[in-house]
Amino acid sequence: MSPEAIVAEAERIKAAGDCAPRLGRDPVNQPMINNWVEALGDTNPIYVDEAAARDAGHPGIVAPPAMAQVWTMFGLNGFRPDDDPMGKATELLDAAGYTSVVATDCQQTYHRYLNVGEQVSVTSRLSDIRGPKRTALGEGWFITFQTSWQVGDEVVAEMLFRLLKFAPGTGPAPEAPAGERVTPLVSLDTEFFWAGTKAGELRIQRLPDGSLRHPPIPALWKDKSEQTDYVVASGRGTVFSYVVHHAPKVPGRQLPFVVALVELEEGVRMLGELRGIEPADVQVGLPVQVGFEKLDDAATLPFWQVTA
């Protein structure tokens, strides 16, 4: 649907004006006020104490003005009437692919406080639509609704409510991490390890007595021409310890990231980035599996990922 077609349809919804007045389910009442002040922790006595309300110049107990909208909420099983402009505008933008929603502004004006026993009705209309706009969340439309609460014919409160309806996945791509990734330094003693990661193998040095060692040690008195003896690890292990790196910045990486010390099935421990998990969710003992990331033709880094 073209922007022009969306605007044209929105103008029709605007021109329809206010929906029919809808009565709140219950009149303004003390039990709902009591629930509200208790949940909000509001100890203003004018909402619960007749004498205090009169002292403050009210004719009796009043409802918190911020409850204006509460009296006419749809409730658990409520539904929007067909002429409700928010329902219509939502359908229009959903159909055009702007399926996600976030509220941006809510401005309430209270013309007077409500008294217990008063019956409130509500009307609303679409008052403004602007778009398409590029936002941090994606391409979308700002739609503004004007809502009015009445007791009889008297307007007691009004609200401007602005929503952004946006197309998910159309926001700016995440900023590429600055700088190049740091590549490993390869020495004669670690060359077998990095050759292994390139080959998709996690290699652990084996000493002459058969024991395994990581990181590799050099003092084996071998001739340079001789290969380091190693075994290929299964790649499975558990998180033995970890840190969440928040600062400083690391070239080529987005913060924060998790560095885990993993105890491999073969018994040695190995450091690496742990990916695919929220830092707050990492735990010691978490089962992980190695993965390999090719940085360039010369270097491939092992990393850890949580096994399902």
Binding site: A39, L40, M67, C106, Q108, Y110
Partner: protein, 139 residues
């Protein structure tokens, strides 16, 4: 606790006492229900996560109510709240803490304008402007 502030002592730049709200799941859910807001993202963690949120989060009607409580905690029961304009920022997820701070930004006739900011761990959750007034002496 409700402190009575004499209108004469209020001037531009007067700061309000901070209000710290512990938004544990009980707070998020009880305020959502007290405001008759049954949207699942305010009481059902699994559904909130399925919709892309980290957890259940505080609803907008509660934010308005918190700003109202914050200004009348300070201004006392004789103050009338005339308007509350909220700009909504980062969510307030269950488990976080909200700290409300406020400053009198303007006085126009009987109207006292108060700028309110509510911060949580993610940043500014609420940026609001509230207007209150005391009854005129002739009333």
């Amino acid at each position: 606790m409700t402190a009575i502030v004499e209108p004469t002592s209020i001037q531009i730049g007067t700061t309000l006492p901070d209000l710290v709200i512990t938004a544990d799941p009980t707070f998020v859910i009880s305020t959502a229900l007290a405001t008759r807001d049954f949207q699942d993202v305010h009481h059902d963690r699994d559904k909130a996560v399925a919709r892309g949120s980290k957890d259940i989060f505080v609803n907008i009607l509660t934010d308005t109510g918190l700003v109202q409580r914050f200004v009348t905690d300070w201004a006392g029961p004789r103050a009338r709240v005339k308007s509350i304009a909220l700009r909504l920022g980062v969510p307030l997820y269950a488990g976080d803490t909200l700290t409300l701070t406020g400053t009198v930004s303007a006085i126009e006739g009987d109207d006292i304008h108060i700028d309110v900011v509510g911060k949580d761990r993610l940043g500014d959750h609420i940026t609001a402007k509230a207007v209150i007034a005391y009854r005129s002496s002739h009333e």
